[in-house]
Symmetry: D2
């Protein structure tokens, strides 16, 4: 039975993602994303499940930066999970009692309409995770009167759901990934995604255009691009890319090799089945057989057989 670390405590959306991705796994809750990934890196766990991006908030900076800068890990699976927020309180608390709300900054943003409308006087304070907020609110003597978190967090910590679905949108989705220590890649399924990180060789104008051309010329579509600061001052960035296809596809292999040649560094983050199961449209001339045929032709040409 594999053992998977995750962003805890119990009751986080990440736990729910882990239960879906690996129902039989032993679950190891960690205090934050970095701790979960470190547990995987150091062998306390066989892998980890962490959030990567949210349809409202965008990329989860800690996850993006850990994957780019920390000890390498491989993404082996992804999951899209609808996110529903509940207003959770200690038994007996009423709406009019709520003066201070504790929740994750993402939830602050996503529930701004509800709080402004229903609890205009309440102060909303940022918590490290929604489940941590629930945990804190459950403590006797907590300075907070309510948490915004997943319903399951309330169940875990003995809170009750005062209002369900307090998010401003009902279609918020978070994308979670499962990572392991480097080893064998998941086999290609025909509907795969490849993630990687690329650092500019130097900060010349057009460097990003050059990178994107490496993909487009081989017919490799990007499903996501996200810039992140390198930390070396304003105006210095590196890029997270998600590509359609598996690194064992010929077109993806040549494209990422090309990216490797024109970048100062490329870190491969994994090739894994797409959660949405969509198969990519293969542009004319970029199928594996097109590449094989071209390689055979080149070998003949180099041997003088024209």
């Amino acid at each position: 039975m594999p053992r998977l670390a995750y962003l805890g405590p119990e009751g986080t959306f990440t736990e729910e993602a882990l239960r879906t991705l690996a129902p039989d796994a032993e679950r190891l809750p960690c205090a934050n994303v970095s701790a979960a990934l470190d547990a995987a890196r150091q062998g306390e766990a066989d892998g980890a499940v962490v959030p990567l991006e949210n349809s409202i908030e965008g990329g989860i900076a800690t996850t993006l930066d850990e994957l780019a800068w920390g000890e390498p890990l491989l993404i082996v699976a992804e999951l899209l999970l609808p996110v529903e927020f509940s207003l959770l309180v200690r038994p007996g608390t009423r709406m009019r009692d709520i003066k201070r709300i504790f929740t994750h900054p993402a939830a602050i943003t996503q529930c701004r309409g509800f709080t402004a409308r229903e609890l205009p006087e309440a102060v909303v304070v940022a918590a490290p995770s929604t489940a941590a907020a629930a945990q804190e609110v459950a403590l006797p003597g907590s300075p907070y009167d309510a948490a915004i978190a997943a319903r399951i967090a309330g169940d875990n910590y003995g809170l009750v759901e005062l209002v369900a679905n307090v998010g401003d949108r009902s279609d918020t989705v978070t994308r979670f990934i499962q990572v392991t220590r480097p080893g064998v890649l998941p086999a290609p399924t025909g509907a795969d995604r490849t993630s990687l990180v690329a650092f500019l060789s130097d900060d010349h104008p057009g460097a990003l255009l050059e990178m994107l051309t490496e993909f487009s010329v081989r017919g490799v579509n990007l499903s996501r691009i996200e810039s992140r600061p390198t930390g070396d001052g304003i105006g210095r960035y590196f890029f997270h890319f998600d590509l359609e296809g598996h690194v064992t596809d010929a077109r993806v292999g040549e494209a990422v090799s090309g990216l490797h040649r024109v970048s100062s560094d490329v870190r491969f983050l994994g090739s894994y089945p797409r959660a949405d199961g969509l198969t990519p449209q293969v542009k004319r001339g970029t199928s594996d057989s097109d590449f094989t045929e071209a390689a055979d032709w080149l070998a003949r040409v180099r041997a003088g057989q024209v």
Copy 2:
């Protein structure tokens, strides 16, 4: 005397930025970025100063999203400010007393080395801003023992600086912007930056490459690109662009017009002097006089004078 709203309370890095950008302005501290921008929008203030990005943390999501989705505002100035963190406590607190630290999530990340080394047992809790953390720690009965914030915040709220420069890097910089309600653009200085937001016309592969080509073909360099989710599900993004040059430059005008044609929407955020004073390298064929000459030639051609 202009009145400028800012991300308060007193003692934030944003206040320091405001004092540098507009030393004579009356200062109106606001609870968060949205409130500061709303004060400018609704006329309570003549403008606002807010952080836009940080060399470690990247873009400030709230600022980016407010500029993209909220009532339009114009960026009229920018400032780069080195950021130095201090460990601030109530008088009498010693290192060994510190069990719970309160600070902004950006500071949590940027001071992780210090806290892990010097205060390995302490719990670090996320606050809405570093100055708000100082304010909270200063309250009698606060559950927190220390704040990580600017020294000025300690001065404002009666805390003492126990350790200076607790950030892991000494070169962290935050970029602040000053915005006003739409009106007259700052005049071009020869060393300007233009900011805008573009929404994809549809999510076809190559749409970003198409956008970047609109810039590169007119010799307009990007100094920053940042993707943000549209909120309509994973895989739907829009883009923040910072360009070298002023929108009254011919090459910038044609490039952003081209972007407007191929995008579903473009929002102009402003043209303003660059904080670093760098003048752009003008590519052959893209100066204002090249554009004027080409326009004259086209007029003659269309009149049949070849």
Copy 3:
């Protein structure tokens, strides 16, 4: 009644083209393409009709170079004409009498199958035009026994058609153009073509790619590109381009202005109705109304109205 010069003598395919393009025109036969164009330039004629390219032979070098280097002329119409070759002889000549054939080099190539099969022993000599060949063969004491030319040339000079359709392909087409001195451009019809010549600014690698990008980024399709030597040594070229659309179209105007900016010189050769009447597919964001809308938006932005 307009007077049009053409590549004579009477009986050339060019005469046939002229009769179709301008049935009522007075016809002025000239010894070669240069003479016909000079007649138009110097006012001896109101215009000229000359061949531009052939579906087998490619561009007619003299025409291409005259348009690029000579006194400027405007293309105002084009025509596609099927080309059929006949073997023409003096009355009484039989196949077995034919030892020397006279014809234009293009016809030599295009009738090579026929001559190799039916007249393997005959010598084929190059003539300045097919009609000139017929004229020469018709002379008493001509060293040539047969001409390959249009049937009409035989009629004009008293030759008989010994064999019809001696071309190797039955679908050969020649494209003719009508030119005038610079003046008013033909009005756009919605199915137009624009011709121009561009000289590289310097011979840097990627200069052609740069030129083509000026077209593609504005959605302007090329229907023809032909390189020609500048005469300044091997490896120095300039380019003839045919574009879909009229120079008064916004996208064409901006594209050729862009070309003008990045080239050392651009010569406009004309915008005129396409012989095939095909209307171009207009790419999203490149219609005239898209350009107008973008220009209006830019004007508002520059006025600070965002």
Copy 4:
């Protein structure tokens, strides 16, 4: 001693090129370019020397089309030869006797200034080659009074040089190539050229831009591009490309493989030392070692070793 066919008869510029390229070769003069290439194809000769392009006239259509459509041959060497024209006559002929001049159409164009100035009344008739013109003029009873050709042609056929250097420019250069039947490629020298022909997969707008991008993205510079009609009607072209580098260079190999994938057909014409000895500038990330390093990295990534 190798036996090389060439465009004869004796006295052509091609013979001079052959003597320079292969001083010890046995020379086999042929009636035209096609015959010379056929001699090489069918084993009557070990190879052939023919002109490929001229700095005034551009590509030699017959050579370009023979290489593209005929039985495959390999280019193994090239030579740049200055071309000087002489006015050649039978002994005793004076300037005022010259009524009819015979020469190749290229020489007609290149000596137009001289003939218009010095022999304005003379008729100039097209010959299959300059040497053939000299041969014809030398015949007793020739209808022609003078030939324009290389001085060597006069020597060969008993003509005298009445005027030297009658070309309008003194810097005209012709590029000749030596071809053989397919076999071993010339070894790379570091200053090589690669020639090939590519047919569009379909005639979509942007197809040429797509082809050029295959080169530019791998840092492969084009030294020549020439469009030729496919013969299937106006507006259908294929392309001759000359590239800097040898097909055994990694960047050239990947670029031509890419071209092969996106084209309906590519014919390799050879990799051979450049006549000018120039070594190409290698763009960052496109050296052979960059390709090897990237391939090694890809192999590791595919094995899960990140």
